[in-house]
Amino acid sequence: MIALFWLIPIALILGLLGLVAFFWSVKSGQFDDETGNALRILIDEDEPLFEDAKD
């Protein structure tokens, strides 16, 4: 039973951490543009190093 005194607080703290992370993500605008964010992953961020670089 002693395990419960550890496990319940740990479980709650982990849950709270998740909640705090979610609050942060809402605040930092990650839920503002669901369409755009879904497409952003498709954008290729690496650009050729040189203008004449061919793939």
Binding site: M1, I8, A11, L12, G15, L16, G18, L19, F22, F23, V26, F31, D32, D33, E34, T35, G36, L39, R40, L42, I43, D44, E47, P48, E51, K54, D55
Partner: protein, 743 residues
């Protein structure tokens, strides 16, 4: 090298959208945008612009890279949901005008982003609902874990452990309820203050009672608490609230996108002959304005001088430009394509054609948001019954001589066991399954209640150009014309963006035409291998006649006998089949078009549509829709153009095509992917089946309540039975919804 090439092309890089018309001088020189620029915390400057014509991830990347490459720009963030571009910069080289010019060069229109106070408020509301939802979800999960331990522990668990678990539950549930319950408490309080009641009053009451009693039980060390039920109820209700709020935010979207099509400036010709650039909202009726070619018309006007081709698709939905000259009236939102015009303004900015369409769309969207969903109607009947039952239980137990505590416990058990879990799931479960199924088939449903409305449709009203037809012209008599002649015509046409010229683009070979000139409304002329070649309407015939569905153009080489090319806007391959399928479902079809009545009639006869009307303005389209609404046939409007937007917004249900204009896609309930009309009857069938499942599920939820409530009233229900009954009923309702996947 995709990026470098994409920068040269204008508009959406996907190639699926029509190439935008280049607007020269998009803002005029003297329009002051400084009032929209605000300083940031870091000492730089920022502006929010609404960008017209951004569709996909490619547009997003193109816009952010293009604007981000401007000197001094530190942030360029495009929001594809609201079409808002947020830009931050420092230094004097860049300003709002350079940014708008850059966007315009890339083929996107831009205007300052003006957000209404009400919209701003609903955005904040949405965020706070999302946070409340997260808190309620966190609490529900944790309290449930503890409750399940208590339930399954049963008699084996010592009462001290019970009590500790209940205290932990209380410490999680009480702050969570205080935070996540606020949307309900506030709305209930406002209602009570105004001496009214609403759905939130009984919800708040149930949550308060359950929490208060559970706290009392915890303090007393008694075995049963109801914290889990309280937070679970809040969590489930908040999901619904959040989705609702999101939908409400969307309603303003179509109107907002239309408003973004308004040009922000106009060039006025003063009485002394000088030119002055003024903001569009300062234009007064009777002002004389200069409209350069390639610019949108700022207000409705009467042409004074000049002849030019006008892109009128915003008013008629037609792709072929109209040739307009002195004394013709042109409307705000149309584009002047080929030659400068001077016009006399006949409206102000606020009562122009475009503003009027915007208002009509807004009105239609508002009336649609008043639609009462079947679940709401059920809840309205259900809540008073349940609450009078709970009160009667409480009083009844007191009357037969029970103590205050068991009486209150039984009353709360009634409230909890009727917790509209099954009722709340009955409708959304079916809708989620049905929309998932339709999505796989290529139909995008934008809201759950759209399915309900789709199922009731008895009349489908189609737009013509771009909906029943492809909106693109094709060459009909290619077999009659020699390959050489087609090549010559194609060589000229490759220089033009006219819809008819575009039909010949696929035929272009390696012959090149020199000195090509385009005369508005007449055609193309150029030199090929030393011969003067003209292609267009036959001069002596005037403009080619369009009494039938075909349009004729002529190719003439060095004054020889002209060769006839016949083009027609072909109906979509599945149009006829779709109308037949709809008829089988007992749904009549009707066609409304901004095109001439004769053309409309010919197509209607081809496709077997009995009712049709040509020469319809956007406003009349909406009037006809309203008339059909009164007739009770629940009209479903299918359209693609901006001119259809008011009708789409007003109709009982509405559908648009994947390549339709942004405005009409925003205004429609469902979107047919791949521009396949044949998806429509399928969607209606699925919607009808879904409706049947909804009714079954609601029936089941009522049956469940008929059995469970008497048990609770007479005190036979303990929390374990309540939990089993509730999850059992939810499971059955969900399984019934999943049956949709099989058939």
């Amino acid at each position: 090298m995709g990026v470098a090439i994409a920068h040269k092309n204008t508009g959406c890089p996907s190639g699926l959208q029509p190439v935008p018309i280049e607007e020269l001088d998009p803002l005029g020189h003297k329009v002051d945008l400084s009032s929209y620029v605000t300083p940031t915390k870091h000492g730089s400057q920022q502006i929010d612009l609404i960008v017209q014509g951004a569709h996909c991830g490619g547009c997003l990347a193109k816009i952010e890279r293009g604007v981000g490459a401007l000197p001094g720009v530190s942030t360029a963030r495009m929001n594809l949901s609201s079409l808002k571009l947020h830009t931050e910069w420092s230094g004097g080289e860049t300003g709002p005008k350079t940014i708008i010019q850059t966007l315009s060069d890339m083929g996107y229109g831009a205007a300052p982003y003006e957000i209404s106070a009400s919209q701003n408020q609903s955005q904040t509301e949405l965020k706070s609902l999302l946070r409340a939802l997260a808190v309620a979800g966190f609490a529900a999960m944790n309290v449930m874990l503890l409750s399940i331990a208590v339930w399954s522990g049963g008699s084996e668990m010592p009462s001290s452990t019970h009590t500790i678990f209940h205290w932990i539950s209380a410490m999680i549930a009480l702050p969570a309820v205080a935070y996540a319950g606020q949307p309900f408490f506030r709305s209930a309080w406002t209602a009570l203050k105004n001496k009214r009641t609403n759905m939130d009053v009984p919800i708040s009451l149930a949550v308060f009672l359950a929490c208060g009693l559970s706290l009392y039980e915890t303090v007393k060390g008694n075995p049963d608490t109801y914290f889990d039920a309280a937070v679970m109820l809040l969590f489930l209700l908040l999901i619904g609230r959040y989705l609702d709020a999101k939908l409400r935010l969307k309603t303003g979207e179509a109107a907002q996108r239309l408003a973004a099509m308004q040009t922000t400036s106009a060039t006025r010709i003063n009485p002394d002959g000088s030119l002055e650039t003024i903001p569009t909202r300062q234009v007064l009726p009777n002002d004389t304005l200069l409209i350069p070619s390639g610019q949108r018309i700022p207000v409705d006007g009467l042409i004074l001088t000049g002849n030019s081709e006008i892109d009128t698709h915003i008013a008629t939905g037609e792709t072929v430009p109209t040739l307009s000259g002195p004394d013709d009236v042109i409307y705000a939102g149309m584009t002047n394509l080929t030659a400068p015009l001077t016009i006399k303004a006949i409206s102000a900015h606020s009562d122009s054609f475009l503003s009027e369409i915007t208002k009509l769309v807004e009105l239609g969207e508002q009336s649609k948001s008043n639609f009462t969903k079947i679940a709401d109607r059920a809840a309205r009947a259900y809540v008073p019954i349940v609450h009078s039952l709970a009160i009667m239980t409480f009083l009844g137990w007191l009357l037969v001589g029970a103590d205050l505590r068991p009486a209150a416990l039984n009353a709360i058990a009634v409230l909890i066991i009727t917790c509209p879990c099954a009722l709340g799931l009955a409708v959304p479960a079916v809708q989620i399954v049905a929309s998932g199924r339709l999505f796989k088939q290529g139909v995008l449903i934008k809201s759950g209640d759209a399915l309900e409305r789709l199922a009731k449709t008895r009349r489908v009203i189609f737009d013509k150009t771009g909906t029943l037809t492809t909106g693109c012209f094709t060459l009909d008599n290619a077999a009659e014309i020699s390959g050489e002649n087609i090549n010559l015509a194609a060589a000229l046409s490759i220089n033009s963006r006219h819809p008819i010229a575009k039909a010949l683009h696929p035929y272009a070979g390696n012959i090149e035409a020199q000195d090509v000139s385009e005369v508005p409304g007449v055609g193309l002329r150029g030199l090929i291998n030393g011969h003067v070649v003209t292609f267009g309407a036959r001069q002596e015939l005037g403009r080619s006649s369009t009494t039938s569905r075909t349009t004729e153009s002529w190719l003439q080489i060095d004054g020889q006998t002209p060769v006839s090319f016949r083009f027609s806007d072909t109906p979509r391959k599945d149009a006829k089949e779709t109308i037949k399928e709809l008829k089988k479902l007992g749904i009549a079809s009707e066609m409304l078009s901004g095109d001439k009545t004769s053309v409309t009639q010919a197509l209607a006869q081809d496709l077997g549509i009995e009712r049709y009307k040509g020469d319809v303005t956007p406003k009349i389209k909406q009037c006809i829709i309203n008339q059909r609404l009164h007739e009770g046939v629940h009209p479903l409007m299918v359209g693609d153009g901006i001119n259809d937007a008011p009708a789409l917004a007003a109709a009982y249900a509405s559908a648009s095509l994947a390549t339709a204009s942004d405005v009409s896609r925003s205004a429609a309930d469902i979107i047919l992917q791949g521009d396949r009309l044949s998806h429509l009857p399928k969607a209606i069938q699925v919607a009808r089946r879904a409706q049947k499942r909804v009714v079954e599920n609601l029936g089941f939820a009522i049956l469940y309540n008929l059995i469970a409530v008497p048990l609770a009233v007479f005190g036979f229900v303990n929390p374990l039975i309540a939990a089993l009954a509730m999850s059992g009923s939810s499971l059955i309702v969900t399984l019934n919804a999943l049956r949709m996947l099989r058939s």
